[in-house]
Amino acid sequence: MSLRVEGLKIYYRTLYGDVKAVDDVSFTVDDGEIMGIAGESGCGKSTLGNGIMRLDGRMRKVGGTVELDGVELPIGDDRAMDRLRYKELSIIPQYAMSALNPTRRIRTITRDLLKTKKVRYSAEIEEFRRRLDLVGLDEKVLRQYPIELSGGMKQRIVMVISTLLNPSLLIADEITSALDVSTQRAVGEMIIEFRDRGYVKSVMVITHDLSILAQISTTILVMYAGKLAEKASADTIINAPLHPYTQLLISSLPEVGVRYEDRVLSGIVGTPPSLLDPPEGCRFHDRCPFAFERCHEEPPFDEVAPGHFVACWLRSKSSVSADAAAAAPVADGGEG
């Protein structure tokens, strides 16, 4: 078990109150697992990834625990986390193309970064060169400045630097969104290659692009409005999803390569709720075509089949037993 997240809540403090961007989220990522995280813009994907990595001044951990390789991460303690960052867990940020200091050479940036982890650059240089070669970069980039490199090159460099110390967990946020289709495929293959070679044990891939998840991920986690909707193997999510939101998300994708962001809003009526004051019960209920009375209570994130988790009363094992009289018939009808 590489990563175990239990009841994690990360809120943004704002003038108007707390934005509940990640609200009571639990899941696990196994060794060797590449878990995709999908969901509409603003549903909390980046907050989840960044929150595990580093809470910035506006984020607050309200509850929950995160365990990496059996050890609890001191999420709220920036200093203690610093010792683990980069070595145990690492990130390719959403802004990878501008993540390199424009006035320092690649080799200086890398040397400075390694030094903060008490690793000698000279000890890593061979490996660094090998990995640059693996992602198709000539070693002369070491002497270059970020401004001399294309966006895609910078992104690959960030990818190699981020994983140079073989972290257990890699969080990759929107690493394909700014690339053309063939480069996207190549980056996807690199992620798999990195995992296969053991550079990283497990990966969380955050993206808008379901086709890239279909290509590279073992499992897919679907988020909706700060909560988890469904988690299952990539195959199941794409071919046999159970949550009404996932179904609409997938069916609104007629061909591979289309990003659901462009399409989904026409497929699903309405807009996601405000996370400042989210509705009670299932957060999807005012857009869900199957919504029924029970949906005013919050559905649990239940394991309905081995490795398949769904948060929907239609699928919940407890729906029949707990509140049989009212809910069950409608639920069956809805499932039809």
Binding site: R54, K87, P93, A99, R105, Y145, I147, E148
Partner: protein
């Protein structure tokens, strides 16, 4: 690289030419013939007035066609022959400026450089600690918001006139002549402190505010966030931010140094400090055309040289300039 510098140099030469031409044109375009105004002073001595008029007409070449006057002017510049000051008649303008520039340089260059370093440090400190930000920033705004003659006058009044701690007027004691003796140097330094302090404080606030804002901007940039995400200590993040933030400040420093030849007119007037600023002030109030021309020429040269230096320095310290330069080369 070569092409870049050739292009730069030709732009500077062109600017120099335009500026000098304007400098040449000013007295000829000035309303009310300043020469006549000046000669009025010699009404009582018609001989002297006549001689002077003849001299200045010749010097200006007013009897010659315009194009010849223009060529004479350029010839004069190349021989550092800027004519004769009317106010300090018969000392040549170049000599008068030479006598005063030492005092201005001795005052302004240390003040600019000290303010630059201390201001940048203070700004960087303010950017990183809330407590300091709440004290340094308002203080900086207060100082740089104060009309600077006011600040200089406060210093002169309290430390000089009222408490007699330091002399508040002149560059050295009245009646002494500038010589290289310890007594004179001590005397000079004593007179130097007040104008230096007032200049230093006036400039300090601006540097501190600029640096603070630049650093805060850098600390919010993506590269800083990524370093923090990877657990880099604040030290490294701050070092990167400081080095990037200092680049725009360098331009400001070069410009401040480039315009120092114009002196700090107000400060020099308040402390009656015989630098170039005071000299120019006298030149203007006395319609001393040649001196004014010489002064403007000095400012032109100062600004152009400063800009040229900063162009070169930027190529050395900022890779972004180097890259765009290569781009221009194709």
């Amino acid at each position: 690289m070569r092409r870049y510098f050739l292009k730069k140099i030709s732009i500077y030469l062109l600017t120099f030419w335009v500026a000098v031409t304007i400098d040449w044109g000013i007295p000829r375009l000035m309303p009310g013939n300043p020469l006549q105004v000046f000669l009025l002073k010699f009404r009582a001595q018609p001989d002297a007035a006549k001689y002077l008029q003849a001299y200045f007409y010749k010097a200006f070449g007013f009897n010659e066609p315009l194009w010849k006057q223009y060529l004479y002017y350029w010839d004069g510049i190349f021989h550092w022959n800027l004519g004769v000051s009317m106010f300090y008649y018969p000392t040549p303008v170049a000599t008068v400026i030479g006598q005063h520039i030492f005092y201005t340089m001795g005052l302004l260059v240390p003040a600019i450089i000290c303010a630059y370093f201390v201001g940048n440090r203070l700004g960087a400190m303010a950017a990183r600690r809330k407590v300091l930000d709440n004290s340094i920033l308002p203080a900086s705004y207060l100082i740089s918001g104060t009309p600077y003659q006011w600040f200089a006058m406060l210093l002169a009044f309290f430390l000089g006139a009222l408490w007699h701690l330091l002399p508040e007027s002149n560059a050295f004691a009245f009646g002494t002549t500038p010589v290289w003796t310890w007594t004179f140097i001590g005397n000079f330094l004593e007179h130097w402190i007040l104008p230096f302090l007032s200049l230093f404080f006036i400039m300090l606030g601006g540097w501190a505010i600029g640096m603070r804002n630049l650093i805060i901007y850098e600390l919010e940039s993506d590269y800083a966030h990524w370093l923090q995400m990877l657990g880099s200590p604040a030290r490294l993040v701050r070092r990167y931010a400081y080095r990037n933030a200092v680049l725009p400040q360098l331009t400001g420093l070069a410009l401040a140094l480039g315009t120092f030849v114009a002196g700090q007119i107000v400060t020099e007037i308040v402390f009656n400090y015989q630098g170039v600023g005071l000299l120019f002030f006298n030149a203007i109030t006395n319609s001393d055309i040649f001196l004014m021309q010489g002064a403007f020429l000095l400012v032109i040269i100062g600004v152009l040289v400063a800009n040229f230096v900063i162009d070169i320095v930027y190529v050395l310290v900022d890779p972004r300039t180097r890259v765009s330069m290569m781009g221009a080369e194709g």
